[in-house]
C-alpha cells in the first residue's frame, strides 16, 4: 500500500509539472501543443548535462533552459509572426522528437546520476504517512509547491488578474495598456520551463535512463489534464494523481501477471485519458464557463 502511493505520486509528478505550465499558458489564451516536444528536449538536456558534469542542479537548469528555448521558438512563430498555434505546437513536438533522438543517440543505455531522495528528519520516520509524503526527490515537492504558487499567483495577485484578463479579453486588456504580447511571451516561456523540468524528472528520477521517445505521450496527457481540471490548479493535482494511479495500475498489473496481455495493459492510460476527457467535456456549459475565452486566438495591436 505504501509502495503503491509512493509510486503513484512519482508517476503523477511529471504530469503535474508539465500541466501546471500548460495551465498558465492556456490561461493567457495561448494553446501550445508542443508540451511533448519540450519535455523530450528537457529530458535529454537534463540527462546529458547530468552525465557529462555530474552536477544535478546544473542538469535541472539545462532542462529548464532547453524547454524555454523550445518555448521561445513557439512564441516567436505564434506571437510575433502570428502563425497558427495548433500547427506550430505540432511542429514543436515533431522537431523535439527528432532533435532529442539525434542528441540522445550517444546516450542510450548509459547511466547518469539520479536525483537524490530527500528524507526530512523526523517526518520521514512517521509510520505510513512518512514514506508516502516525505521520502521523495526534490522535484516532487517542487511540483506540489508549484500548485499552491500557481493558484496563489492566478487568483491572489494583481499580475495573475492581468494574466486572466488577457486570456478572457485581450483587446480590452490591450486598451487598458497591458502589454498583451509581452505577457504572453513570458507565460509561454514559463510553460517551457515547467515542461523542461518535467522532462528532467523523467530522465533523472522516474526512469533514470535516456531512451528515445521516453515521454511516451505524457505531454499530451498533461494537456488533457488541463481540460480535465477546467483550468483550476488544485483540480490539476487531483487529476495528475488519478493519472499517476492509472499509469501505475497498468505497470502493476503487468508485474502481477494478470492474464491480460502486456501490450493491452500499456494502452490503459491512453484509454483512461479519453474516458476522462469524455466525462469532463460532455458538460459543455462547465467547459464554456472555465475556458479562457480567447484560447488559441491570435492578437495583434493593429486590430
Amino acid at each position: 500500500m505504501t509502495a503503491l502511493l509512493v509510486s503513484v505520486i512519482a508517476s503523477a509528478t511529471p504530469l503535474l509539472l508539465a500541466a501546471l505550465g500548460a495551465l498558465l499558458v492556456e490561461k493567457v489564451a495561448v494553446l501550445n501543443l508542443g508540451v511533448e516536444g519540450m519535455m523530450l528536449v528537457g529530458a535529454i538536456a537534463g540527462f546529458a548535462v547530468a552525465h557529462e558534469t555530474g552536477n544535478l542542479p546544473l542538469a535541472l537548469a539545462a532542462a529548464i533552459g532547453a524547454g524555454m528555448v523550445m518555448a521561445l521558438l513557439f512564441a516567436v512563430l505564434t506571437l510575433t509572426l502570428r502563425a497558427n498555434q495548433t500547427a506550430t505546437g505540432l511542429a514543436l513536438t515533431i522537431f523535439g522528437r527528432g532533435f532529442s533522438a539525434l542528441v540522445g543517440a550517444g546516450y542510450v543505455g548509459i547511466a547518469a546520476p539520479t536525483l537524490p531522495r530527500i528524507a526530512i528528519p523526523g517526518l520521514s520516520d512517521l509510520p505510513f504517512v512518512g514514506p508516502i509524503l516525505f521520502g521523495h526527490d526534490p522535484l516532487v515537492y517542487v511540483a506540489l509547491a508549484m500548485v499552491g504558487a500557481v493558484a496563489w499567483f492566478l487568483y491572489r495577485t494583481h499580475a495573475g488578474l492581468i494574466l486572466r484578463a488577457i486570456g478572457d479579453q485581450h483587446d480590452a486588456a490591450h486598451v487598458l495598456g497591458y502589454k498583451v504580447i509581452r505577457i504572453r511571451y513570458l507565460t509561454v516561456l514559463f510553460g517551457g520551463a515547467m515542461a523542461g523540468l518535467a522532462g528532467a524528472y523523467m530522465s533523472l528520477s522516474y526512469t533514470p535512463l535516456w531512451t528515445q521517445d521516453m515521454i511516451a505521450g505524457r505531454g499530451w496527457v498533461a494537456l488533457a489534464l488541463v481540460t480535465f481540471a477546467a483550468w483550476r490548479p488544485f483540480w490539476l493535482m487531483i487529476g495528475a494523481w488519478l493519472f499517476g494511479g492509472i499509469m501505475y495500475l497498468s505497470l502493476y498489473m503487468q508485474a502481477l501477471g494478470v492474464p491480460v496481455p502486456t501490450a493491452l495493459l500499456s494502452a490503459l492510460p491512453y484509454l483512461g485519458t479519453i474516458l476522462v476527457l469524455v466525462l469532463i467535456s460532455r458538460d459543455r456549459r462547465r467547459i464554456r464557463l472555465h475556458r479562457p475565452a480567447m484560447l488559441g486566438r491570435p492578437f495583434s495591436a493593429g486590430g
Binding site: 506550430t88 539525434l102 476527457l277 469524455v278 467535456s281
Partner: protein, 353 residues
C-alpha cells in the same frame, strides 16, 4: 528597423512562394546546424536532399514512400480545411493495415481479383471506422478531437504490438514479432514487373484529383470550406455541423487506412510491430506544405518522402543518425509557418521614429 504591416488582402504570390522560401530557409538552417555539429554543411545538405535521387532505385523508393504521404496528406487537408483537427492519422493508418492484414492472413488462397478489392475496402473501413470513434466522441461528448485522436494512435500501436506478438504471430517465424507473409495475390499487381511499385501509386494521384474536384466543385466541399473559414456562417446557413465532422473524420481516416493497407500489402508483405516511420505525423506537414490543397499535397508528399531517403543516405554515407529526418521535417514546418506571415503581412523597412 524591419516591421510587419498587414496587407489589405492576402497575397496570392506568397501563398505559393512561402513553401519555396521555407525550403530554402530549412536548407540554410539545417546546414548551419550541421556546421555547428562540426560537419561539412554543404556536403550534408546535398547528401540529404540530392544523393538519394541519384542512387539506383532512388526514384522507385521515393514514389513508394510518397504514396502513403500523399493519400494521408489529402485526407488531412480536407479535415483541416473544415477545422477538424485529426492528428491521429497514424492510428487510422495502423487500423487500415490491421484490417487489411487480418483479411489477407485469413484468405491466403484467394485470387488477386477477389482479394485486392476486398483489401482496399478493408483498409478504407478500418481507417474510417477508427476515425469515427473520434468523430463520435467529439459530436456526442464534445471531447477535443486533437487529444482523443492522438491518444487513439497510441492505443492502435499497442493493439498492433499485441496482435503481432500474440494471436497473429507467425508460428513458423522463429518467435519474431511478425505475421506470416501474405500471398502474392494480396500484394496486387506491379506497375512495372519486378519493381516495388504497387497499386497505391496510381491511387494516390487519383485521390488527390478527386479531392480537388470535391473541395472546389461540390456542395460538400463548399460546406467543408465554409465551416473552416466561417463557422458562424456555416451555422446560419443551416449546415449540419455534426454531419460534416463525421464526414471529415471518415474521409481523412479512410484515406489513412488505405495508405496503411497499401503499405503493408503492397510494400511490406506482412505485419510487424513497426508499420512505418511515422507517416501519419509526417502527413500533417505534407498537408500544410501543400497549402491544404489536394494538388499541392503531391509535390509536398514527394519532398517529405525525400527526407526519409535523405535520412538513410546521411546515415550510410556520413554516419549521422537517421533522426535528422525528424529534425529536418520539424524545421521545415517551422520555416513554413513563419514564412506564411508574408501572405497576410508585408515586411517593411521603417526608420525609428
Amino acid at each position: 528597423m524591419l516591421s510587419l504591416s498587414p496587407r489589405g488582402t492576402a497575397s496570392g504570390f506568397w501563398r505559393y512562394a512561402a513553401p519555396v522560401l521555407a525550403l530554402a530557409l530549412t536548407a540554410l538552417t539545417t546546414g548551419a546546424l550541421f556546421a555547428a555539429m562540426g560537419r561539412p554543411a554543404l556536403l550534408t545538405v546535398t547528401t540529404f536532399l540530392i544523393t538519394p535521387l541519384l542512387a539506383t532505385g532512388g526514384l522507385e523508393a521515393l514514389l513508394v514512400k510518397a504514396a502513403p504521404l500523399v493519400m494521408m496528406g489529402v485526407g488531412l487537408s480536407i479535415a483541416y480545411r473544415a477545422n477538424v483537427w485529426n492528428i491521429g492519422a497514424e492510428g487510422q493508418y495502423i487500423f487500415g493495415a490491421l484490417a487489411a492484414g487480418g483479411l489477407a492472413l485469413a484468405l491466403p488462397a484467394a485470387p488477386g481479383w477477389v482479394i485486392v478489392p476486398l483489401l482496399i475496402a478493408a483498409g478504407l473501413v478500418g481507417g474510417a471506422g477508427y476515425a469515427l470513434i473520434v468523430a463520435w466522441l467529439r459530436t456526442r461528448f464534445n471531447a477535443n478531437e486533437i487529444l482523443t485522436s492522438l491518444m487513439l494512435a497510441y492505443v492502435a500501436q499497442y493493439l498492433l504490438v499485441y496482435l503481432v506478438t500474440g494471436p497473429w504471430r507467425d508460428p513458423e517465424g522463429f518467435g519474431f514479432p511478425q505475421t506470416a507473409l501474405f500471398s502474392d495475390a494480396a500484394g496486387g499487381p506491379r506497375l512495372i514487373e519486378g519493381s516495388n511499385l504497387h497499386l497505391g501509386l496510381i491511387f494516390a494521384p487519383l485521390i488527390a484529383l478527386a479531392a480537388w474536384v470535391m473541395l472546389g466543385r461540390s456542395v460538400l466541399g463548399f460546406q467543408f470550406r465554409v465551416m473552416g473559414q466561417a463557422p458562424r456562417a456555416a451555422r446560419f446557413a443551416g449546415f449540419d455541423e455534426n454531419r460534416l465532422i463525421w464526414l471529415a473524420m471518415a474521409i481523412s481516416g479512410g484515406l489513412a487506412g488505405l495508405a496503411g493497407m497499401f503499405e503493408v500489402t503492397g510494400n511490406q508483405g506482412q505485419l510487424t510491430i513497426n508499420l512505418g516511420p511515422g507517416y501519419g505525423f509526417t502527413a500533417i506537414i505534407v498537408g500544410f506544405l501543400g497549402r491544404l490543397h489536394p494538388l499541392g499535397v503531391i509535390p509536398a508528399g514527394l519532398l517529405l518522402a525525400l527526407t526519409y531517403l535523405g535520412g538513410d543516405a546521411a546515415q550510410m554515407n556520413l554516419g549521422l543518425s537517421s533522426a535528422i529526418t525528424g529534425i529536418f521535417q520539424g524545421i521545415l514546418l517551422f520555416c513554413l509557418l513563419g514564412s506564411d506571415v508574408l501572405i497576410s503581412h508585408r515586411l517593411q523597412w521603417k526608420r525609428r521614429p
